[in-house]
Symmetry: C2
Subunit: 237 residues, 2 copies
C-alpha cells in the first residue's frame, strides 16, 4: 500500500519500470497426452479466460524462490522438476513500454485419484497442449517456447522421465516421446535403445488386469536430480 503511493508520485512511466512477472509452464503427462496447468484469469472481466500461473517478483524475493512458490501453490508434492526458460519481453495493451516476463517450466507426476476432485471444484485446468486457445499472446509465446525447449531436452537428456510415475512400462515411455515430439516410434527398436543405455531397471513386477500380455514395470536407474544434466543420450528422431 505504502509502496503504491510512492510510485504514484512518480507518474505512470516510472512506476512501471522493470516490473517483472514470473510465468510457469507446468507440464504433466496423463491419458497419453501432454498437458499444461492453466488458472482462471481473475482480473479479467470476461469469465472463462485462462492464463499461466504467475506472480510478480516481490521485494527481497529471488526469481527462483518466486517460481517455486508458484508451483507449490498448485502442486501438493515437493517432487517436481523446475528450470528457467529465459526472459521474455512483451507489449501489453495497458503499457507502452516492454514488460518483462521470466519464464519457467516444470514437470510434475500427476496422481489421478487424489487430484481429480481438487480440479473439479477449483479454478485450475490441466489442458492438452493441442487444445490451448484464446490465451493472451504473452502466454502463448512462453508456452510455445517451453514446448520447443522440452522437445529439445528430451532428445538429449532423460529429463522427460520427470513426467512419468515411479513405476512405468516401456510403452508409457514410448507414448511420452511420441506425444511430445509428434512422431511415431518403432516400439521394438526404441525398447532396445532405451534398455541399452541402462537408464531404467526392470522391476520383475507386471501390469495386472490388462486384456493383453502384461508389461513389465520399470523404474529409473539414475537419481532424479541427474536426469537433466548427467543422463545424456542422443535420440535422433
Amino acid at each position: 500500500m505504502k509502496k503504491e503511493k510512492s510510485e504514484e508520485r512518480l507518474g505512470l512511466n516510472l512506476s512501471q519500470e522493470n516490473k517483472i512477472e514470473i510465468d510457469c509452464v507446468i507440464f504433466c503427462f496423463e491419458d497419453r497426452s501432454l498437458k499444461v496447468l492453466l488458472v482462471k484469469n481473475e482480473n479479467d472481466a470476461m469469465n472463462g479466460n485462462w492464463r499461466l500461473p504467475s506472480a510478480s517478483l516481490e521485494h527481497g524475493e529471488t526469481i527462483l524462490k518466486t517460481a517455486q512458490k508458484i508451483l507449490k501453490k498448485h502442486i501438493s508434492k515437493d517432487d517436481f522438476f523446475l528450470e528457467q526458460l529465459r526472459a521474455f519481453g512483451y507489449h501489453s495493451s495497458t503499457s507502452f513500454q516492454e514488460n518483462i516476463s521470466i519464464g519457467y517450466y516444470a514437470m510434475v507426476r500427476r496422481e489421478k485419484k487424489k487430484e481429480d476432485d481438487e480440479e473439479f471444484h477449483s479454478d485450475i485446468i490441466w489442458i492438452d497442449i493441442n487444445n490451448i486457445a484464446d490465451l493472451e499472446d504473452k502466454y502463448m509465446m512462453v508456452i510455445d517456447f517451453s514446448i520447443k525447449e522440452l522437445r529439445k531436452n528430451i532428445c538429449c537428456s532423460a529429463v522427460g522421465f520427470n513426467l512419468l510415475p515411479e513405476k512405468f512400462t516401456l510403452l508409457q515411455v514410448i507414448h511420452l516421446y511420441e506425444e511430445i515430439l509428434g512422431i511415431e516410434i518403432n516400439k521394438t527398436n526404441f525398447r532396445r535403445k532405451i534398455l541399452q543405455r541402462r537408464l531404467v531397471r526392470g522391476l520383475a513386477e507386471k501390469e495386472e488386469g490388462v486384456s493383453n500380455r502384461a508389461a513389465e514395470f520399470y523404474s529409473l536407474n539414475v537419481p532424479k536430480d541427474e536426469l537433466f544434466w548427467n543422463a545424456k543420450f542422443n535420440f535422433n528422431f
Copy 2:
C-alpha cells in the same frame, strides 16, 4: 540525471527495485583459442579490473535492442550472432536484495589487422576463456553458463560457424571444436563427417605461403541465419 534524483527520494530500497542489467558474453575465435571481450570497469577504484560489456535496461527500450546496442558499441560490423542465455539472479555487495541480469551471448568474426590497434589504445581486451580471473562472481556466473550453452549448441547445430571467417579450412573447424569442447578430434574422420552433411562447400581455392601442403578453403553452404535453428546435426563427442 533527473531520473536519479527521483529515485533518491524513495530511498535505497525502492530505487533498486527490479533493476535489470543486460550482460553480453561476446565470443571470438582467434589464434586457435576462444576469447571473450572484457571492458575496463570504470566505476571501480582499483585499476585493471574488468567486466563484461553491459548496460542497464532503460525506459522504453527492449531487452533485445539493449543487447544489440551493447554489441554495436564494441563491434564495428553488423555481422554477428546474438542470442539470449537466460535471466540470472545475483547478490551484489551494495544491495541486500537480488539483482537481475539478463545474459546474452554473441559470436563475431574477428578480422585481425583492422582491430588490433583499436584494442591497443582502448579499454577493451579479448581474453582467452582459460585465462579469465578476478572477475566479479556475477560475471563469472554468466560466462560459465554461456560456455556451457555454446558447447551444447555447437554439438547439435552449426552455430559455431559464426566464429569463423567467410573462407576457412577444415583444420580451422577442427581447432574450433577442439578448443571449445576441450577434446581432441580425429582429423580424417571429422573431415568426412562434416563433408557428408553438406554443410560446407569447397571453393577450389587454396592457402598460400604455408610450409606444408596447402589446404583447400571452404565456405558455408547454408544461410547464416539458419545456422542456429535449421542446420541440425549430432556430434556425439
